[in-house]
């Protein structure tokens, strides 16, 4: 069974009577443990597809299935629960809650999951150490660099032990060295924790790292490439 699946998914936005087609009948299946990039130029529909996979938006047509659950059949509260327990998100920037420290940002997801305080603290510190930010645990986002903030966002995304991490252009605002470090980190987490990663990106470095690249253009899948040796 696929971890993520889009079946005949279309998405049409309407702004002041003008219709914009973001996705046209996309069929795509992503298995557990994949490290996949959704690539394409701006306006190709990659972020829209990522939002549909994350239940942040609903398709105009078609079905999105996460770990066997049809997201279209869930209420907004059930979708929130689905995101809480099965998904982690990393966005381009401003990922973190500014009034929380790095540790509190990471802990908050676990608090929503009902993890006891002592375990929350232990797991948050362990994951921050793992992403190399143990020393900055008590810093607030504004006291950290963009790369450090993205690493905290990755730590927060995986600390809840999700099935899938959806990352929307996670390296877009980072210099190439920081972006490389972040990608290495995500790859390592994918390998060691078995977490499925799906990126939307047009960064060649990310595409290079991905073991599978799904290329989108004008809202449709135009290529689905797997590197030799990947499942």
């Amino acid at each position: 069974m696929s971890m993520l699946e889009a079946r005949g998914v279309s998405k049409v936005y309407e702004t002041r009577g003008v219709e914009t087609i973001a996705l046209r009948g996309v069929d795509l299946s992503i298995e557990g443990g994949e490290f996949t990039a959704l690539a394409g130029p701006s306006g190709s529909g990659k972020t829209t597809l990522l939002n549909l996979f994350g239940g942040l938006d609903a398709p105009t047509e078609g079905v999105v299935v996460l770990d066997g659950d049809d997201l279209g059949s869930l209420t907004s509260s059930q979708l929130a629960e689905e995101r809480l327990h099965k998904l982690g998100f990393v966005f381009q920037a401003y990922n973190l809650i500014p009034v929380f420290s790095a540790r509190e940002n990471v802990e908050f997801v676990m608090e929503l999951q009902g993890v006891p305080p002592s375990e929350r603290r232990r797991r948050a510190m362990a994951i921050l150490e793992e992403v190399g930010l143990g020393d900055l645990a008590d810093k607030r986002p504004l006291e950290m660099s963009g790369g450090q903030q993205q690493r905290v966002a990755v730590a927060r995304a995986i600390v809840s032990q999700p099935r899938v991490v959806l990352a929307d252009e996670p390296t877009a605002n980072l210099d190439s060295k920081t972006a490389g470090t972040l990608l290495d980190l995500m790859e390592e987490l994918n390998r060691e924790h078995g977490v499925t990663f799906v990126f939307s990106t047009h960064d060649p470095m990310v595409i290079e790292k991905a073991r599978r690249t799904v290329r989108l253009r004008d809202g449709a899948v135009v290529a689905d490439e797997r590197k030799a040796g990947s499942a």
Binding site: L56, D57, E81, R83, L87, Y94, F100, F108
Partner: protein, 407 residues
Amino acid sequence: MGTGIWRMAWRNIGRSPRRTGIVLTAVAVGLAGVLLAMAVNYGMVYQMIETAIATELGHLQIHGAGFDQEPGIEICIEDGERLATRALSGIPGLEAWAPRVRSQGLLYSPRANVGVQVVGIDPAREARVSVLADSIVSGSYLDGQRRKLLLGEKLASRLHVEVGDKLVLSVQDVHGEMTGEAFRVGGLFRTASGDLDRGSVFLRIDEGEQLFGLGDAISELVVIADQRSHVDDLKREIEARLSGDLEVRTWKELRPLLVYFVDLFDQMGWYVYGAVFVAMAFGIANVLLMSVYERIREIGILMAIGMGPRRLVVGIVIESLLLTLLGVVIGLAVGTLSVWLLRDGIDLSRWAEGLTAYGIGTKIVPVIRSKDLIIPTLVAVATAVFASLWPALRAVRIRPADAVRHI
């Protein structure tokens, strides 16, 4: 709800100090103003009640049956003082009692005559149940003096008499016969009760009993409780000890108008609270709405990490609650401090003439009741919840995909 939501709400309050400051100031000033206004209003009502109790009513009065409907000299308590000594001794919560003889009369001076309330008192006992002894402004109280009258300053002025002048008091006795005696003005008093000062005259109870032909009978027994809150219990205890042909009435039953005033001020209080808190609700809602719009992306992130609609609403309601309660604490502190600073009273001597008609003195001491602290706090909590629902519902209606794209 976890501590993280409370921590986030608390820290969000500090994110826009100017806006938070404006809301806190509005809530605090509004509340302090209401509290002070209520304290001054209740101070006036309290003084009206205290004046009525201290000059005339006492906490309780005991009369012969029927006195309530048709007060008259013929409705009296036979051998009243002995009865009181026997029945009222050793009752817990009873501070003091005093006998009185009371009826109407006509007071003649060489230059005028005035219809008056004639009250015979036991000077020593009366001093423990009323402020009369402490209200003498010229001459002296009745101790040991015979054929002396105490008059209010205003009554003396109407009669054009001073201390030592001669007056004739004419009354109808218990048999319906007109009778009269000559007295001298022994002392003049001034109280916060305009009615008492203008229309009452006091004499020794034995002279009153003689004048009205009552023998050992008296018109009423006035009782003072150790605390006003014990009055109802005291009434039940006294009623149990007395025979059925006597009536025991509390000050509330004797002067229902005072109770009406208390109710009226309470009702006015609700209108004032209502007006202040409706204005406050709009201010809070406005601030929270602005705060929500400024944090749309953040709300999107919270939705993305799995914070459901219910928790989002609760988070915003908590933010409103903390903001409002902070304002309430400051407001109540400022209001209470203002009342404390005015503890010596607000001087209203310029309006004294008008106020004494209502039994209010020249100084109003604001009085805070516990409910004046509790009710605004509860109303503020309700206002905070009510005011935050609109911004909170706006927040959860935002589509997560739009929110996370928002900069």
